[in-house]
């Protein structure tokens, strides 16, 4: 019997060992993952009744602040500019947790980072306000211009400094006033929350579309296809020449791919970009660049990866990474594989099929080209300041990826500048400065061929130096209202924003 009791003892010990292992997994190994889970609101609930730092734009406007109030909750979080910054700051709510910068930088704003806790021995024994103020890279007057320029049309405007990755304007419509969730009037917050939750996803103003929604990039993606051609094949801006034609039929299909509005075009890559020639880029993708290089180049630009931006849960832009098995070879020299889905690859080369990108991602494509091929990590944080006004942390620009050689980047700049000067993006041109652009008119879905999103990506800067601004604008289609094109709908908005930005930077009067 004693032997059996010992075995029972061992069995019970093993049970407890299993518990110990599992506790280690949850409390130590999965700790970070669980703490960052979107439905985890513990830190917000913990921090709600504390002092909390302000969020301030780079030009000194306070866009989020806390006030002491009487009642059940000790503080209210308010956002003086209403909906203007909602998609950057996010909200800070007792009931619904936090989103945006409020969530990403919660520990610093609440003064809960270990480094903020104890500056000196004295802090251990006294209660001090350790919260930090966050200064962000957005410029207030540029943000206002972006909002006014887009108006009451669903869409997004993203302006980035290509040299640093700093985000200078970040607007998407529709937006909302986050004060309602930070208010101590919990019922009002609950009412708004339920109302927003009942809307279809695309109409929910809480959704920051510029970094959490993905769209067909359409022709703006031709920049990526052209980059792949310059980087990985012997093609240049002027070699090879493509047929001038209205349609192109990729291998393995009889279904032809058409140019915009039935027009005919062709010629070299430079001309293809200037007039946004679908047949040229479809053939380039399907028969010259090939799947492997196009996947590789799009991933260098940031596709198929969570962007390293300082905001919670950014969406991953998608480029399909499997086009099936090889079934043959092209006749070109050197030959590239023809895959089962080469027709889809042709579509992907012009930003359709399953290619989807956030407006942020497309701004980064333009920024990479403008920054001579170097992609910087996008960011909103500029610095943190403690309550005595002393800087405690300053953002240092970081390279995300080296995408293009300087040579190839300069070629693409030439093409984009020609597109703005005499191609589809002339509405973007601004006299007296360098402007490059690329338009896009992206089909929304196959069922509604007449509804399209209008896109523009571009950059601008002084004549004699590197570009200081990169931009992406998307104006979303309105069902039944017909085609929106990048050139006529998105470009004027981008131009208005760039003009203001150039004035702020001192390059224009």
């Amino acid at each position: 019997m004693n032997r059996n009791i010992r075995i029972l003892g061992i069995a019970l010990i093993l049970c407890f060992v299993a518990l110990f292992v599992q506790l280690n997994r949850i409390q130590i190994f999965q700790q970070k993952e669980l703490q960052e889970n979107p439905s985890n609101m513990r830190s917000v609930v913990r921090d709600f009744n504390r002092e909390r730092g302000e969020i301030i734009t780079i030009d000194g406007e306070i866009i989020a602040e806390s006030f002491k109030v009487e009642g059940q909750l000790e503080y209210e979080r308010t956002y003086p500019y209403g909906d203007l910054y909602a998609h950057s700051t996010g909200f800070f709510s007792f009931q619904y947790g936090a989103d945006g910068l409020e969530r990403y930088y919660n520990d610093q704003l609440a003064g809960q980072k270990e480094t903020q806790q104890f500056n000196s021995l004295k802090d251990i024994f006294t209660v001090t306000d350790t919260s930090a103020d966050l200064t962000i890279t957005i410029n207030h007057s540029l943000q206002e211009t972006a909002k006014e320029a887009l108006g009451e049309r669903n869409g997004s405007v993203v302006v980035v400094d290509p040299r640093t990755g700093a985000i200078l304007a970040f607007w998407s419509y529709p937006s909302y006033d986050p004060s309602i969730f930070g208010s101590s009037d919990l019922q009002a917050g609950e009412k708004a929350w339920e109302e927003y939750s009942s809307l279809p996803t695309g109409e929910d103003p809480r959704l920051p579309k510029m970094y959490r929604e993905i769209f067909f990039p359409g022709s703006t993606f031709k920049l990526v296809t052209a980059s792949a051609a310059l980087t990985s094949t012997s093609a240049t801006l002027t070699e090879p020449e493509f047929d001038i034609r209205a349609t192109y039929t990729p291998p393995l299909t009889t279904f032809p791919l058409q140019n915009y509005a039935g027009s005919t075009c062709g010629g070299d890559i430079l001309e293809g970009l200037r007039v946004s020639c679908n047949t040229t880029f479809a053939e380039l993708a399907a028969e010259i660049v090939g799947a492997e290089s196009l996947i590789e180049t799009s991933e260098k630009f940031g596709f198929n990866e969570i962007p390293p931006i300082d905001l919670p849960s950014p969406a991953e832009s998608i480029f399909p990474n499997d086009f099936g098995k090889q079934v043959g070879e092209t006749d070109n020299e050197p030959p590239i594989p023809i895959l089962e889905n080469t027709p889809a690859l042709a579509q992907s080369g012009i930003g359709q099929f399953n290619v989807k990108a956030t407006p942020l991602q497309m701004a980064l494509v333009a920024a990479t080209i403008a920054n001579d091929g170097i992609l910087m990590k996008p960011h909103l944080m500029d610095s943190f300041t403690d309550q005595n006004g002393e800087l405690i942390e300053v953002y240092k620009p970081l390279i995300w990826q080296s995408v293009l050689s300087r040579q190839d980047a300069l070629s693409l700049q030439l093409a984009m500048e020609m597109t703005a000067a005499s191609g589809t993006a002339t509405n973007l041109a601004i006299p007296g400065v360098v402007v490059g652009g690329k338009t896009g008119t992206a089909q929304v879905d196959a069922d509604r061929p007449d509804d399209t999103h209008g896109w523009i990506v571009g950059y601008a800067g002084p004549n004699d130096r590197e570009s200081t601004l990169a931009i992406a604008v998307i104006v979303e289609s309105v069902p039944g209202q017909g085609q929106l094109t990048g050139g006529t709908d998105a470009a004027p908005i981008a131009k208005e924003v760039l003009l203001e930005a150039l004035k702020i930077q001192g390059f224009l009067e």
Binding site: L12, A18, I28, N40, S43
Partner: protein, 435 residues
């Protein structure tokens, strides 16, 4: 020997009092930055309770093991200061239940001078056990709370008879198995190298299985069902050492569980929540997801007592109290609780090993299994190792029936320990002299 044991126990209990008071003060500091106003009465209360239990053991079971009472006292104390930090009203009730528990502990020691006397009442105890088990199903008596029909209401008092049934049934099982031991151990036909007992001897297993299925299905109490069945199988294993019983019971339980899963939506729901809690983090999975967040928030050292936010876990004072401990005391705290239970299991099984009579051996091992395995299944539910089964964490969770039953269980263990040592010295009178 006997006074040395009691002296060690006394000093351990003083240490327990210091730890519990420290936890209580820290939790209050963490919550309101103030020393609790009732600190002096609290300290005196704890000392009196522990002293009462200690003196009872000194008088009525002087040779008993010295570690059980301090371990139980510490677990009860940890549970108390965590509950006090979570809910002041419940803390008052828990204090009352602790007092009643300790009184019941003393009463058990006084009223049962020899455990073997219980052996002869086995069939009465079996009847009581079954009545306790099915009481919640009797209309007018039974009451469903939080989806489980395990409560009985008499007047304004609610209690869970299942907590007492487990002790009564442990006594019955032990006595029954001792009586039938020879029959149960005879080898029947041998197949595939495994000795299969004759069919008629499987009767008791089938009965235990049937009862546990009824509990699982009719009362929706998965935890108790698993606990009863494990208890029975453990006792059968200890007395016969036959692997075939383990295999057969394992198969029977799996079959029963599978049947219950395929037939009953509440069982399926439990399993779904267990496998995919994050599919519905604000609905069905809320409790287990919040518990995981709490444990993760605690990390290695915890947020500190009174500083976390474990209040938002439903049933945190009862089933999920370990999540609260894990949040505020971290892995250090949860490991400490696991260690305390392991020590309790070790001491309990040591009593079983040193007992000389089969009935006492089985009973002490059975009671220890009840404590250890109940702690295991509820913690396993909290940490997502098993589907959640709502049983209490012995001595730690809030709950009157549970505390009372576990203090009685502890008294029985001490009683058996005392008897075993007494037998030892009776049989080897020279040992004392030699020392």
């Amino acid at each position: 020997m006997k006074s040395r044991n009691r002296n060690i126990e006394f000093f351990l209990l003083l240490f327990v009092a210091v730890l519990v008071v420290a936890g209580y003060v820290l939790a209050s500091l963490g919550r309101s930055s103030s020393i609790p106003a009732n600190i002096v009465p609290f300290l005196i209360g704890i000392l009196l309770l522990l002293l009462l239990a200690h003196l009872a053991v000194r008088k009525f079971a002087p040779r008993a093991d010295f570690s059980l009472l301090p371990l139980a006292g510490l677990l009860n104390g940890i549970g108390y200061f965590v509950i006090a930090r979570l809910d002041k009203d419940l803390a008052g009730l828990q204090a009352t239940w602790t007092l009643i528990g300790v009184v019941a502990f003393v009463a058990t020691l006084v009223l049962i001078p020899q455990v073997r006397r219980l052996e002869q009442y086995r069939y009465i105890l079996m009847t009581i056990g079954i009545v306790f088990l099915i009481m919640p199903l009797i209309p007018g008596f039974g009451r469903e709370i939080n989806g489980a029909k395990i409560w009985v209401s008499i007047g304004s008092i609610n209690f869970q008879p299942g907590e007492f049934a487990k002790i009564v049934l442990a006594i019955f099982f032990s006595a029954y198995i001792v009586e039938k031991r020879d029959v149960l151990s005879t080898t029947g036909v041998s197949r595939f190298g495994i000795a299969i007992p004759e069919l008629r001897h499987l009767g008791p297993i089938l009965l235990a299985w049937g009862v546990s299925l009824i509990v699982m299905v009719a009362e929706k109490d998965l935890g108790s069902s698993l606990l009863f069945f494990t208890l029975f199988v453990a006792l059968l294993w200890i007395s016969t050492g036959k692997i075939s019983y383990l295999i057969m019971s394992g198969a029977l339980f799996s079959g029963g569980a599978l049947l219950a899963w395929s037939q009953f939506s509440h069982v399926q729901e439990r399993v779904d929540i267990w496998l995919r809690p994050f599919d519905d983090p604000t609905g069905d999975g809320y409790q287990i997801v919040q518990s995981s967040f709490a444990l993760a928030e605690g990390g290695f050292t915890g947020t500190g007592l009174g500083v976390g936010t474990p209040e938002n876990i439903p049933a945190v004072e009862t089933d999920f109290i370990l999540a609260a401990i894990g949040e505020e005391l971290g892995l250090v705290g949860t490991t400490a609780v696991l260690t305390l239970f392991l020590l309790l299991v070790g001491s309990g099984l040591k009593i079983a090993l040193t007992s000389t009579r089969p009935f006492e051996k089985l009973l002490s091992a059975g009671l220890t299994t009840l404590l250890g395995f109940q702690a295991f299944i509820i913690i396993a539910g909290v940490v997502r190792l098993l589907p959640l089964t709502g049983v209490t964490l012995p001595f730690v969770s809030y709950g009157g029936s549970s505390l009372l039953a576990n203090w009685v269980l502890l008294a029985l263990l001490l009683r058996i320990s005392d008897e075993a040592r007494r037998d030892e010295t009776d049989e080897n009178p020279t040992r004392m002299g030699a020392g």
